[in-house]
Symmetry: D2
């Protein structure tokens, strides 16, 4: 049994990790920390876990994280980088669901996250946990930077186009839409029901933290700089990201075949038949990215549609997938749930 600790379990990625790990046959949940809620049974805060998770929140001091095999950080940005070195030194593997280790260029990271980085050397060591690109490195890693939700959907959608050189990299557009759970479980007015329901808007057009993360990935796929525009929007639904990607085709390639071949061996990327439109609900609760590729008539554009559940393939599910790889388990252990439709 893998002994698992979770730091920061009161948010949506925390409860989603618990939902998945509670049914993982090789996992023993050892501790889940929250300084503020220490002592409260987890199932009191999240009643869906009644009867499934018996742990109470504990303080970090009491949690005994050093004796775990792996620790997940489901914390705000800037927390994991303070605690990771000690855990690694104690022989514990670390999977950070926040952004502390995602961006290799420390100056860029510090610009976007408005703080000094505590351990640039560990950023260099960390493996970006997108298994469809880095599976081998993940297998041998001590420290995983679990990708952001938008970056997962956008990068998986652009990957075959950029690897193959099929498009003009000078003008790539990602029009992305996320459900409200992506904003986290924080008491803030803009994500109140009466503000976000029956409403739709873009946000962060002037700059969003996922832009440099995605750009770093796209440039590594393309092997050169790219021009990349990213516009996120807030959807009036709980779970789900839909990325609509635009580029100009520069080579005469069968794009459907390109995508099917690239993802042929991937259990968690599903290329839909030509002409399809993936729906976010088809992946609700499932660790899956569904993708369709289109060539609209009367234009040289290619349009890629990519959907994930932001809390699963965009966060907790991908983290468990990384854990499975790191510990040599079948990659889909505890990740084979069918999407909940309707």
């Amino acid at each position: 049994m893998i002994k698992v600790g979770i730091v920061g379990g009161t948010g949506y990625t925390g409860v989603e990790l618990l939902r998945l790990l509670a049914r993982h046959p090789q996992v023993e949940l050892k501790a889940i920390t929250s300084r503020k809620e220490a002592g409260m049974p987890v199932a009191e805060m999240f009643p869906n876990l009644r009867g499934c998770v018996k742990l109470a929140f504990s303080t970090p001091e009491e949690a005994g994280l050093e004796s775990c095999d792996v620790v997940f950080f489901a914390t705000p940005n800037g927390v994991a980088m303070q605690q990771t070195r000690a855990l690694l030194d104690a022989g514990v593997k670390v999977i950070d669901l926040a952004a502390d280790f995602r961006i290799k260029d420390i100056a860029v990271w510090e610009h976007w996250y408005k703080m000094e980085h505590a351990c640039p050397d560990l950023v260099a060591e960390a493996v970006y946990g997108l298994p469809e690109i880095n599976r081998a490195a993940i297998k041998g890693a001590r420290l995983i930077a679990n990708p952001g939700c938008y970056p997962t959907a956008v990068q998986l959608g652009f990957l075959p186009l950029l690897e193959s050189g099929a498009v003009d990299v000078g003008f790539l557009v990602a029009d992305a839409k996320s459900g409200v759970s992506g904003a986290g479980r924080k008491a803030e007015i803009p994500t109140l029901f009466a503000e976000a329901a029956d409403n739709f808007k873009a946000y962060g057009v002037g700059g969003h933290r996922h832009w440099p993360e995605i750009k770093q990935g796209l440039e590594s796929f393309a092997g050169k700089p790219v021009g990349f525009t990213f516009v996120p929007h807030l959807l009036p639904l709980i779970r789900g990201i839909h990325a609509t990607l635009y580029a100009r085709v520069s080579a005469d390639i069968d794009l459907q075949e390109l995508f099917e071949k690239r993802y042929a061996g991937e259990a968690f990327v599903d290329v839909l038949p030509a002409g399809s439109h993936p729906e976010t609900r088809s992946v609700r609760g499932a660790n899956m990215c569904r993708i369709a590729v289109h060539r609209p008539p009367g234009s040289d554009s290619v349009v890629v549609l990519s959907v994930i559940d932001n809390l699963v393939k965009g966060a907790a599910g991908q983290a468990v997938q990384n854990m499975n790889i790191m510990f040599g388990l079948p990659e889909d252990t505890a990740l084979d749930a069918v999407g909940m439709l309707p």
Copy 2:
């Protein structure tokens, strides 16, 4: 392996059965019928099933239902009663998710369902599939009448009160609210998004088919006639039933203790601590009924709050629970999913 057939798989209870059975370790899906969609892969209609269910819809003639071990009817009312006798004669067990076998009084059934019953003798044989009441009979049954969604939530909420004689049975009220999936996957204007979203209303106050089904149950619990008022409402959400039950207390009993004792051994009924308010989302996708009991101040009333997912404990999940009991499997096989929150 249990060979399973499903008749009528294009509705919401059909796809929910498939979602649950696709991960059932003792089940082999043999056939799913739809005359209209024969030949279409099931996963084309329900893309959440891509990669999980490989069956295509077949006509009833081709389906070979007689060679199944059990057949589920996820059909409109009036279909199962036409086909059940032949299946039983062929040694197949039958679980009807519609209403054909739920009401013992044939005249009452014919009044509410506006058709002549095809096999009154089988109604007499059928076991009402509410395991918390009829577990032993279910174990030995050939034919199960799977309860309606409202009836499951309302009966489980009233059961301890009526069995114990704690309330005045002359005036029982169930104010029940259901998500829109309860209306089925039928093209009708009142359940369009633009009609049902951001809206709330009661319906069927003048008479609803679940009223006689619930009344039959309540009178059997009480052992005498009851006065029962049932008002269903349409909630702007997909899955979930919340029943708020009202009665006047007539005996001095510790109601919290009464409920906890009655459901102590039940895996799928969860009595919440005193003072709780169950949320529908705590059982979203889960085969669970969560119940709280209250004594509001300044009144002799008792208020019971009872929530289920109408498609799971209110339909497909309860049907699988019944199958597990009938075939001697652990009752929670394939039914241990954690509710999806958020």
Copy 3:
């Protein structure tokens, strides 16, 4: 022109007052206060008001409220009672949309609102602003206690039954459901979109502040003590209250006729034809209460269905209605908008 001031304009009742008053032909908006947002144009916070309301928020000191003809308090409970006397002394009429003046029994008020009342004598003077009961008194009043949202829907629904003695007052039940805007524009976790969407629950079964307010009204209609149970629920929609009311009929009266006669002259109460089910969306944005009355079969119960928009007839619209009466204007001035459907 009536010079109007609003105290506390950053909440939902505040913006709704502005929406209605911006198109009121006899109103001149003089000031809207918010200490925290002083200086910010109102239309910056509420972009629907761009081009319609040119005011900026001001501090209470700068607002010049004493020179207004009427001041609305759209503040948390406990604010209006501190400022009302000075305004009345300056000859300003006051309409309080909060609860400071709603409950005549000061001890009851202090028990439920957990503070000492600042001006019990003004409570005695204040007129409860439900025009369908108190129109004449409102006309001559200086100080109006605008009713709560639930109390408006519930009292209008019970009123004819209690005035006429048609029901057993020993057991009255109000099962009430409210949209999330009823909780106000406050940053709190339970009303986040990801918590309240696709979800339904009861709350406050053990005691809600609207219970004593409604009870006070019901007892005055009935002329004697009543047994009253009130269970509020949170609906996943923005605007709308649906109250489902239950009682036992004790007299042989034509209830449809009773309701139609009682509300025959009322512009803002609409009794639907027999057999109807009012929908919350039919009053979305409109100052209207729609009511239907039913006698379900096989029972001695009467069921009343009553819907309002909690922000209009349940708050800001009723406040403007009261203002119109106080200033001798046609009662429907600026209140004739058609409900927005779909």
Copy 4:
């Protein structure tokens, strides 16, 4: 008083026309036709109209449309073109809210709408009813082609960029999202609540009827052919369109100033301050298009955000605006409602 007839009043644009016209001080509603519902009071189908609209549906034969001053067609495509000539001959002005007269190239129209056009000469005469472009022509017109909902939002967003030559017209992208009411009040499975709620998807990427309509407009603004990609999506909300527009900047122009100047005199186009993100709810129920223009960092792209209520500025409101212009009334008569927020 302007005598008004409406053909086809049972859909969402029909009820929205009624909502607006019921409060229009210069309009007398003479007839609303529906062969299927003839005889039913309109307010029975749409209860928000109770007390405001007393008409019943009538058959086209009984409606006396020839004696109206103006007739609105709120019908499926292909109906208006059959009846328009007779009305024009009788001296009646016609405003078609469907697509019969929107596309000047008959071959293109017949290709996309799959039918033969009944009156190509009237297409030539018809004025495309986008007042911000064609106000003078609308003033003198007998026949108005009221623009589609997506075309209104997209064209108003691109208009200043194309008129000014500020962008590369070879690659224009409109990523558009619409609420479900845009699909009309038709009983179809994909727009059921349980299908469309808590879900998001693109549709019609391979070709949508609004693509040629928009392209026709963009090319007339630019004065040359354009490369144009259009991807519509279905939003889980009732009313609202959000168009996110992408182009590459080819000239060094102050875009904020460009937009503000272009729309300076327009009552129904609101250019937001630099850095803004318009929300669909800010125009809910209002005849308004709100627009923001952005230059995202690190790219040569311009992003325009454009929102409307699809049933108001995208349909019925714009139709009333056109009527007001045609009859010499103030353009905002009956169109000054404030958007409903929250």
